[in-house]
């Protein structure tokens, strides 16, 4: 950053902007993770129903073999990330703090080589089928099964396809590195997605702080008039689906609606890369890029890790912890989950492991609201977080609902900007749960 820019930043910073903290890892090549000795694969790594376990203790599994079959709504296949022996099937705690069924596989040291094949002339249905059987889910964190989205897009005859390369959460650089290192592969993935969804036009939405990736994709876009790169302002939460659609196409997804309601489908770049691998290598989703970062680890890195790798292994690969670690977060600092220990395992939706040191988190005490209005200006959904949190505080869930709390996707920005540290996002969650509970009892 030039000196002038820096001075301007100090002078004009509005306290509402979020430091992106990506310097820690943004120039580090994606490193292939060490082969884990054992992995734990959860059967529920997607938002829908848990997939059905189809192995038992003592079985030998091969890398890429299906071990959990999709069953029911929004479910998705789960595959063995390594070859080896199934040693245990039980409930394991996952990164949201709940526990779910998982399988522990002990490696036999063999590694499969995935051979490339051509996937240029393949029909729409075949692509979707392949994506389905490869167990690809939304890798930005939503873990929505991708084939479901594709089918929905086909059915509602979408016109525009958007690839989300915003990666607006601070610290995370997994997508950025992927975009820089696997540009061609991602573009092939986009071609497949466009073909499968029969979209007319594709847009590549990317925050303007990723100059190099923008240049690379623009270089490709020049030769394809159905493909455009859209530079977006680097501002959290630019990568939120609705925000992105609005900023690229100027369309607002209606309250409670889906992108397909305005004729759009959006996928994260990581997902598109997984689709590429599923088609060109017949490789299921058994590996992903995880950014291991924060000033609590010695040597932050971007690691291409097997699903199921113990988080502790990844941290060891980054040189281990520094002293007085205060928080381990799965996901970014704005929306991630704080963990009680490091005995959890990489999942399809895990883009980042953030380790914070003691002083990272200043917890100035909460004080009464001073009505500064910053939370209102910050909310991407244009809600009034202060009013809603006040309703929530007094259990007035109906009022909270009228004020639109169900539109909140817990981006955390209102709580971030609040100068009196009102835990607004928490109040939002509380109100949403309250409304849900009430709805359940009414039925």
């Amino acid at each position: 950053m030039s000196l002038l820019k820096r001075i301007a930043k100090v002078l004009f910073s509005s306290d509402m902007e979020i430091d992106d903290m990506k310097e820690l890892t943004k120039n580090k090549y994606i490193k292939k993770g060490r082969m884990p000795e054992k992995v734990v694969v959860y059967f529920s790594q997607h938002i829908g129903k848990e997939s059905e376990c189809c192995v038992s203790c003592g079985n030998h599994v091969k890398e890429g073999q299906v071990i959990g079959k999709a069953s029911g709504v929004l479910s998705s296949n789960v595959h063995a990330p390594i070859s080896g022996k199934v040693v245990e099937i039980k409930n394991y705690r996952n990164s949201t703090g709940r526990s779910g069924k998982g399988v522990m596989i002990e490696s036999d040291g063999k590694e499969k080589v995935w051979k490339k094949k051509d996937a240029g002339n393949i029909s729409s249905e075949k692509i979707i089928k392949a994506v389905e059987s490869a167990g690809v889910v939304g890798m930005g964190g939503a873990t929505f099964p991708t084939y479901f989205k594709m089918n929905g897009a086909l059915k509602s005859r979408i016109k525009d396809y958007i690839v989300n390369g915003a990666e607006c959460e601070p610290y995370i650089t997994a997508d950025q590195r992927l975009m820089e290192e696997k540009t061609k592969e991602i573009f092939c993935g986009i071609q497949l997605m466009v073909k499968a969804t029969k979209a007319k036009h594709a847009y590549f939405g990317i925050e303007d702080n990723k100059r190099y990736a923008i240049r690379k994709f623009k270089g490709i876009a020049i030769n394809h008039d159905w493909f455009d790169v859209e530079e977006l302002e680097s501002r959290y939460p630019q990568g939120a689906e609705k925000e992105m659609i609005k900023n690229i196409l100027g369309k607002e997804v209606p309250c409670g609606g889906l992108p397909s309601d305005v004729g759009v489908a959006v996928n994260n770049v990581g997902t598109v890369f997984a689709v590429y691998e599923a088609l060109y290598y017949s490789k299921p989703l058994i590996e992903r890029v995880v950014t291991v970062t924060g000033n609590g680890v010695k040597n932050p890195k971007n690691i291409f890790a097997k699903i199921g790798t113990p988080v502790k292994d990844l941290i060891d690969e980054c040189g281990g912890y520094k002293s007085n670690v205060s928080k381990i977060i799965v996901g970014g600092p704005m929306m991630g989950f704080a963990q009680s220990d490091d005995k959890i395992y990489v999942t399809k939706g895990m883009s980042c492991i953030l380790v914070m040191k003691g002083s990272d988190d200043d917890s100035a005490e909460e004080r009464p609201c001073i009505r500064c209005g910053r939370c209102i200006d910050a909310c991407p959904m244009k809600l009034n977080p202060y009013i809603i949190s006040a309703y929530s505080q007094r259990d007035k869930f109906d009022d909270a609902k009228d004020a639109g709390v169900l539109n909140c996707y817990e981006c955390g920005k209102c709580a971030f900007v609040c100068p009196v540290r009102r835990p607004m996002t928490q109040y939002m969650r509380y109100a949403k749960e309250g409304i849900k509970k009430r709805g359940d009892t009414k039925k």
Binding site: F12, P333, M334, L354, D361, I370, R371, C372, E410, A415
Partner: protein, 308 residues
């Protein structure tokens, strides 16, 4: 390893209410310095009295309510603002009364910080004006620049504020502040310095000063009074940058702030030209403070994706 399990977001802005308060105090120092420069030691004593009494009153009330008595800066700001909007020769006992009254009636009875409807400094000022109108409308003239600061107030000559006398004080004098008036309201230059600090730090919304001053300017121009004179004289500038922008007593949405500020500007114009008072800024703001809940209700943002 003991880990913190608090929920997201895990990072927070570096700003805090304390930092905002101190920036506001810092910004208020500009008009304070100008006031002390022009009106001498007596101005300094008034400011100190107001601040000390405001803080003292707040602490006592908080203690009585058995609440946390930590100094947050709010009372200091109230005191400082009150001191800046009274004439430079008000007796100190009156400052003490006004300041305490403002804190108790303007703030504490509503439930303290964040819950008050009216700006406490203006409540104090209104009380002083209503109870002791004679004392509140005598303005000493500025001292000869360079005169010793401790020069006795009794020696000073009295004058009327430019708005009262309607005497032609030229724009340059108005801008620099070497004319009679309230302590912090005369030097537009220094008010702008302070205002700029708040604007750059984005602690205040530019819409409020811009709309308020703009409304007065436009109305004056249309009605044939000198618009420059109207916006430079009296307490308009100070009120627009430092009083109307108070978070607690102004609307929360951008649209609401525009409505609020424009109406204040109109009221100021009407009071000045058709009312019995020479000055109308304080009462206009107080009146609109009362309207804030109403404005807030009707200026909520349209939720993203909601029907237009």
């Amino acid at each position: 390893m003991k880990l913190d399990l608090s929920v997201s977001p895990h990072i927070k802005t570096k700003s805090s209410s304390k930092k905002i308060m101190f920036t506001v105090i810092f910004a208020l120092l500009f008009p304070s310095v100008a006031g002390i420069y022009y009106f001498g030691m007596s101005a300094l004593w008034i400011l100190i009295t107001c601040i000390v009494c405001a803080q003292f009153t707040e602490t006592v009330v908080l203690r009585m309510q058995k609440k946390d008595t930590k100094i947050t800066g709010g009372a200091i700001i109230t005191g400082l603002i009150l001191g800046l909007i009274v004439p430079p020769n008000v007796p100190l006992w009156l400052c003490a009364i006004g300041s305490s009254f403002g804190i108790i009636i303007g703030k504490m009875v509503f439930g303290g910080s964040g819950s008050n409807i009216f700006n406490p400094a203006l409540v104090g000022r209104a009380f002083m004006g209503a109870g002791w109108p004679a004392l509140m409308s005598v303005f000493t003239d500025v001292q000869d620049v360079g005169a010793p600061l401790w020069k006795d107030i009794a020696d000073a000559t009295t004058t009327a504020t430019p708005l009262v006398s309607k005497a032609g004080v030229d724009s340059a004098t108005l801008f620099l502040g070497s004319h009679g008036g309230c302590i912090g309201e005369t030097s537009i230059l220094f008010i702008l310095f302070g205002g700029l600090v708040l604007l750059i730090k984005r602690h205040i919304d530019w819409r409020i000063p811009a709309c308020m001053i703009g409304a007065v300017f436009v109305l004056s121009a249309v009605s044939g009074t000198d618009p420059m004179y109207q916006i430079l004289a009296g307490g308009l500038m100070f009120g627009a940058f430092f009083i109307a922008t108070d978070y607690v007593t102004s609307p929360m949405t951008k649209r609401g702030r525009i409505v609020y500020a424009v109406v204040i500007g109109c009221l100021v114009f009407l009071m000045r030209n058709y009312g019995t008072m020479a000055e109308g800024v304080a009462y206009s703001i107080l009146f609109m403070n009362a309207m804030v809940p109403l404005i807030d209700r009707f200026t909520q943002n349209r939720i993203f994706g909601d029907k237009v």
